[in-house]
């Protein structure tokens, strides 16, 4: 980085860790800092104006578009990205044949359901949707079909037409219900 641009230094709290940002330009979005400075490329950029939801992260428990947050203003917030999601009840068994037990332990029930129900095609919208669905189900464990649609209507998917994504959310809700 040249001296002409960027000499900000600050610390962000991301996925439970303090991450130091050095030599940054003050105009950088949280999305840019996550992707280009902190080696967390899971959050995706696809519209830069909060319309598509691909960059969704949790900030103090709220789902936000990280492209609309200036990174330097996120100091002090508790940020969770797709890389930091953890399953609250990891005991749920996988039914997937091609997801090995080893990997299965590393992904959440929501992530597993997206794979098993066909909610992933190109996968570019997927991380944002995964975060949005975690956020929904944390706040509302038993959403109606319409509540599901409304809560993910800020996440655009161009491949699936959403049908398999609805199926994935429904599968998680049913499994969580059964295990309660």
């Amino acid at each position: 980085m040249s001296e002409s641009i960027g000499n900000e230094m600050y610390t962000l709290r991301i996925n439970g860790q303090d991450r130091h940002v050095k030599d940054a330009w003050v105009g950088e979005s949280l999305l840019y800092v996550l992707r280009e400075r902190l080696e967390l490329p899971g959050s995706k950029g696809a519209c830069e104006q909060g319309e598509c939801g691909s960059c969704t992260v949790l900030m103090d428990g709220d789902a936000v578009c990280s492209c609309l947050v200036m990174a330097a203003t996120a100091v002090g917030a508790d940020i969770v990205t797709v890389e930091g999601l953890i399953e609250k009840d990891p005991s749920m068994a996988s039914t997937a044949r091609t997801i090995t037990d080893q990997i299965s332990g590393q992904i959440t029930d929501v992530q597993r359901a997206f794979i098993e129900e066909g909610g992933v095609q190109c996968g570019f919208c997927t991380p944002g949707l995964i975060v949005a669905v975690h956020h929904l189900l944390d706040k509302n464990p038993d959403p109606t079909e319409l509540e599901v649609k409304e809560s993910i209507s800020g996440n655009i998917c161009r491949c699936t037409g959403y049908g398999r994504i609805f199926a994935a959310v429904e599968a998680v809700v049913q499994v969580r219900k059964a295990s309660r």
Binding site: E117, V120, K149, R158
Partner: protein, 756 residues
């Protein structure tokens, strides 16, 4: 036998809903898209674009940009060492504009710098003097000889007519209409992005790129760089959707040029706004169509004139035009036709491939016409379509005989049998009403409508193109490795290819090697062709390896190889009792074969549009149910019922994903998606202003897959990517017509088209 069946079901072979091998990485966020690649010592690249649709470049001054700290290079047309232009069919598009800019957003220069913000400042510091010219934006005017020719190749990109049977015959009944199709954007989520690594000597480059066709890109890039093709290596970067928009060159040449100039890795990625200018769109079209029919509703003749606005450069316009005119008849019998088609150059954005490729436009016209015909003959939309439904063996208006399985009648009947949705409940949530929560519909004004659309779509490339795909299969120690250059863009070829290998070879472990140019071409991931073409190549390579395996086992165990077969995961002797697992039989040996799958040859059309120009066809029917607020002009698509001719279902989960995804894109074209032009200027290059279907816009989809295996297809399966998005658009518009009584001759249907 039941044991075998049980075991078969548990393996991820053909016909099962095998899961995506890249699924885990994609849900974790660790899958590497082309925009996720990072390199030590890399620079960012960015493109300067024309603010004018048509202008002469008087001068370009890059001095100030080069003085900015952190800027490593600024390049313009004069820095292109090889061919100054590129293009899929005709190399008529400049790498950088030099004399003229011919559309808003045309690249003029590119920079490399240490930070995206430095790039932005450098672009702002480049001084380009333009002599602004009056753009030619109406294709009807553009094609006249008296109009200024905006390109040395002229304004008429292609003209083709079709004359079939008796051009003068008429019928008891005629219906006609003028139809307009707006400019749709593919709007893939993963923006254009690439990383170019220069070779240390500067004589070569490795480009990691999200594309649909690695080898075609390589040929065009190498020509512009003036490098041998072997010195330009392409590796598929993770692709975030494509839908046709990645078939043309966008940032490929710019990125490589900057890498070679600076000697450092260059990362480029477009913003959403830039992406609207950086790739081709679906052709806007104007179509006049007239049907002549008997009083019973049987089509006697179809006449049409089609005008496709190709924008400033050729891209795939000639092929899109041919697809449009050769699908004038739709999936219906028709003995006589007079069709005239034009693809014309204007100062609008270049248009090219998008899912449905010319057939979307033709289908909106012919399906609107079928409803007019039904009305004129006193038939229902279903009856008129059944009376005219095409069958295998029918002669098309090009003279080509329909050799594909053509279950048009079944598609219609099975769609018709799908139960209707419940009526709108009196206490329905506001989100279920037209307009949703934003502009609340008045329940008193909501009217339900039902409409139909049926379509035919050619599969693969046409007009004599030697289309092929290459794959290599290597079997060793019970593990199969597959190598191909096929672009996985989300469609699921990475799921299908291992399913094929498991089915043919009796292995469970399949490794996919990197998709790059270190093997022969796979052709493009487009035209609904990869399951057929690359699937055929993988199948062929695996079968060759299986022959070698049988020879090896036969020799070792003194059995005639012809008696051997694969059962489950074993090689067995069909006559004796010998049995050995594939894993054991391949211990310590390596069997490797490469196979090229070519489809059958096709021909050019003659002057009268006659010739066997297409390879094969697929069919689909759609029935749409909509709720319309007739006062506010708002539409809610309630249900899409569909029966699609798929040949054979190879992966049910992938197949339904293609069907539902295609329907959403067709819905977009029907009621919301349009790039709005104003005298050559794009007015809405953002996701705020270019509206895409969201989860709340998604209709309930009830889909039936009709399995009648296609004898020509290597796996019996037809391509299923494009048909879902084609006839759903006219079906939705027909449903809105039924609800409103409005003529609605353009898509997308806008609120003012309904309520004013």
């Amino acid at each position: 036998m039941s044991t075998v069946k049980q075991d078969t079901r548990l393996r991820d072979i053909l016909g099962t809903s095998a899961l995506r091998p890249d699924g885990v990485a994609k849900v974790m966020g660790s899958f590497s898209f082309s925009s996720d690649i990072w390199a030590e010592n890399m620079l960012w690249g960015a493109t300067l674009r024309s603010p004018h649709p048509y202008a002469r470049i008087v001068s370009i001054d890059t001095t100030a940009a080069l003085l900015i700290s952190g800027v490593s290079a600024v390049i313009t047309a004069q820095d292109v060492p090889g061919k100054a232009t590129y293009g899929l069919i005709s190399a008529d598009q400049p790498v950088f504009a030099s004399e003229f800019v011919r559309y808003m957003g045309e690249p003029v220069a590119a920079v490399a710098a240490d930070h995206p913000e430095t790039c932005r400042r450098a672009l702002a510091a480049i001084i380009v003097n333009y002599e602004v010219l009056t753009p030619v934006v109406d294709p009807e005017l553009a094609m006249l000889a008296t109009t200024e020719q905006i390109h040395p190749d002229g304004n008429l990109i292609r003209h083709q007519k079709i004359i079939c049977g008796d051009p003068h015959i008429s019928g008891d009944i005629t219906v006609e209409g003028h139809y307009t199709i707006g400019m749709q954007d593919q709007a893939f989520l993963g923006l254009e992005a690439a990383m170019a690594f220069p070779d240390s000597g500067g004589n070569g480059v490795e480009l990691h790129i999200a594309t649909q066709w690695l080898h075609e890109d390589r040929g065009q890039i190498a020509a512009c760089l003036k490098l041998p093709e072997d010195n330009v290596r392409l590796v598929l970067g993770g692709v975030g959707g494509a839908f046709g928009a990645r078939e043309d060159i966008s940032l490929q040449v710019h990125c490589c040029l900057l890498a070679l100039r600076t000697g450092r890795p260059i990362k480029m990625q477009y913003s959403r706004e830039e992406s609207f200018f950086g790739h081709v769109h679906r052709h806007p079209a104007k179509i006049w169509m007239k049907h002549h029919a008997s009083k019973e509703g049987k089509i006697v003749k179809v006449e049409s004139r089609m005008m496709f606005d190709g924008g400033a450069y050729t891209s795939t316009s000639p092929a899109v035009l041919i697809n449009g005119i050769t699908h004038t008849q739709g999936p219906y019998q028709c003995d006589n036709a007079v069709v005239d088609g034009y693809a014309v150059r204007t100062n609008n954005p270049p248009c090219g491939a998008m899912r449905g490729f010319g057939v979307v436009q033709a289908c909106f016209a012919h399906e609107s016409q079928m409803d007019k015909l039904a009305q004129a003959c006193g038939l229902s939309p279903v009856e008129v379509r059944l009376i005219n439904a095409m069958h295998t063996g029918d002669k098309l208006i090009t003279g080509q005989v329909m050799e594909s399985v053509a279950p048009v009648e079944r598609c219609i009947r099975e769609t018709d049998a799908i139960p209707m949705p419940e009526p709108l409940a009196a206490n329905a949530n506001v989100l279920e009403l037209p307009g949703g929560s934003g502009r609340t519909a008045d329940r008193q004004n909501i009217v339900r409508g039902i409409g139909w659309g049926v379509s035919m779509k050619n599969l693969m490339y046409s007009e004599g193109f030697d289309d092929f795909a290459t794959a290599r299969c290597t079997l060793s120690n019970g593990i199969a490795s597959l190598k191909f250059a096929t672009a996985e863009v989300g469609q699921g070829f990475v799921t299908l290819a291992p399913q094929i290998a498991r089915s043919v070879l009796g292995v469970d472990d399949v490794v996919l090697e990197t998709s790059d140019t270190q093997i022969g071409s796979a052709g493009s991931t487009s035209a609904s062709r990869q399951t057929w073409m690359s699937g055929g190549a993988v199948d062929g390579a695996c079968r060759l390896v299986r022959e070698r395996l049988f020879e090896h086992v036969g020799k070792l165990h003194n059995i005639d190889p012809i008696r051997l077969m694969i059962e489950h995961t074993d090689v067995i002797d069909t006559i004796g009792t010998f049995r050995i697992s594939v894993a054991e039989a391949t211990q310590g040996i390596t069997l490797s074969e490469t196979f090229e799958h070519h489809h059958r040859k096709t021909e050019d059309l003659d002057a009268n549009g006659q010739g066997n120009c297409h390879v094969a066809f697929a069919f689909v029917a759609h029935r749409a149910v909509v709720d319309v607020d007739i006062e506010l002009g708002l539409v809610k698509v309630v249900q899409i019922a569909t029966a699609q001719d798929v040949g054979r279902v190879l992966n049910p989960l992938s197949a339904i994903g293609q069907i539902e995804g295609g329907i959403a894109q067709g819905l977009g074209l029907a009621v919301m998606e349009e790039i709005i032009m104003d005298n050559g200027r794009v007015k809405n290059p953002s996701f705020t202003d270019y509206l895409l279907p969201t989860a709340l816009d998604a209709p309930s989809v009830v889909a039936i897959m009709i399995e009648e295996p296609e004898p020509q297809a290597p796996l019996g399966a037809k391509g299923i990517g494009e048909p879902p998005c084609i006839s759903v658009t006219p079906a939705i518009v027909a449903a809105i017509r039924a609800a409103t009584g409005k003529a609605l001759s353009r898509v997308p249907v806008r609120p003012q088209d309904i309520c004013l």
